[in-house]
Amino acid sequence: MTKSLLETILDPSKLSVLFQPIFEVQNGIKRLDSLEALIRGPQGTNFNRADILFDYVRRKKAEVAVDHTCFMAVCDEVMRLPAEVRVNVNVHAATLGQSCGFVEFFRRCAKKRSLKLERFTIEIVEHAPSCDASQLTTTILQLRELGIRIALDDVGLGQSNYRMMLDCDPEYFKLDGYFVRNLNRDPKRRAVVASLVALSESLESAVVAEAVGSQEDLSQVAELGVNLVQANILCPAMPLAELQKLGYVDATPDFDAMPGSDAAFGKMQNFDRRDMRFAAAAGQSFYT
């Protein structure tokens, strides 16, 4: 029987994972802070573009299933990273805002690959107008208890609003690129960024400036007190092997010798799929 489009996306082996560094920039010197894992859909389909992939997923109301699948794909790649490298993973608020077993799935998925949970930051993305705030807060507390940090993505746009700042209490505000574009020429944008920096300080969070487009804007965000930057001008998203070639992360120690990378690996993925079916039974249908 032919697979449906959604079933094709829900196959972790068909997804690819890119990483984009987030740098701490001080006095013009950049140091790797962490990597954001970015998913691309199956090659040769319309879903190889992330914007189209996730727009489609949201239209199909399949965020829970896809977030589970994406995390599996990310974990498989994170196994190839040195243990000290921190990794950001995108998860929909719609997933965290319902009782679908995501925290347990996350914990087991990482544990099976011997990945420390403290390495992960969950970037909460939200495009739906609302989710169950009470469940969202509960889920975030559970994640924090496991040592996972929280970032609020696309701050300033859409649903990443003041309420989400309070409900999520994030360690990081990820400032959308819209606000830092042409910052050097736009005093109103500077005012918005300055206010968000002040707010983040009051809330004891750090600001990450995304999609900084020029050296001038890079200087401006630094002047405004933002020293965590993610930008194509510093390093675009790329496969892990290329990041290693460029020297941003060390080469993999010996992947074949690592736990979970032997013949049992296939079995491990089957267990993960069973987890997903379990989560589906507890919450949202995977195939809508």
Binding site: L5, N46, R49, D51, I52, D55, Y56, R59, K60
Partner: protein
């Protein structure tokens, strides 16, 4: 820059034949097999012409939803309906939704090409 065309049909063979034919004519062609996929593509890619069937993946009149989406989002794409349905009421409803051409399957590729050429010529 080449004009972009989106073909929406749940029949893979038909999509491929139309895509290859239009690509030979110098157009950039994307294909979608279901409503939500088409809506996502239309959200991010500016198409000059959209060719859609009315029946999509078990949705009897999913093509009408595509047309409504294009009009509600005020997209500039011109719309060609390519369908086996020939009911006058349905044709009238599609026309009222704001289509630019209506072709009955099985249409000739030359007819499709002419319709696309005419609409793109009218747009540019």
């Amino acid at each position: 820059m080449a004009n972009k065309i989106l073909i929406i049909d749940d029949d893979e063979q038909l999509r491929n034949v139309c895509r290859d034919f239009l690509a030979e004519g110098g157009y950039e062609v994307d294909c979608a097999e279901e409503l939500e996929e088409a809506q996502s593509l239309l959200t991010f890619i500016p198409y000059s012409v959209v060719i859609t069937d009315l029946r999509l993946s078990k949705l009897a009149f999913g093509g009408l939803d595509v047309i409504r989406h294009i009009r509600e989002q005020a997209l500039r794409a011109r719309v060609i309906v390519l369908t086996a349905y020939g009911w006058p009421d349905l044709k009238a409803e599609a026309s009222a939704s704001g289509i630019d051409a209506f072709l009955r399957k099985p249409a000739r590729l030359s007819e499709l090409g002419a319709a696309v050429h005419t609409l793109i010529g009218a747009t540019s």
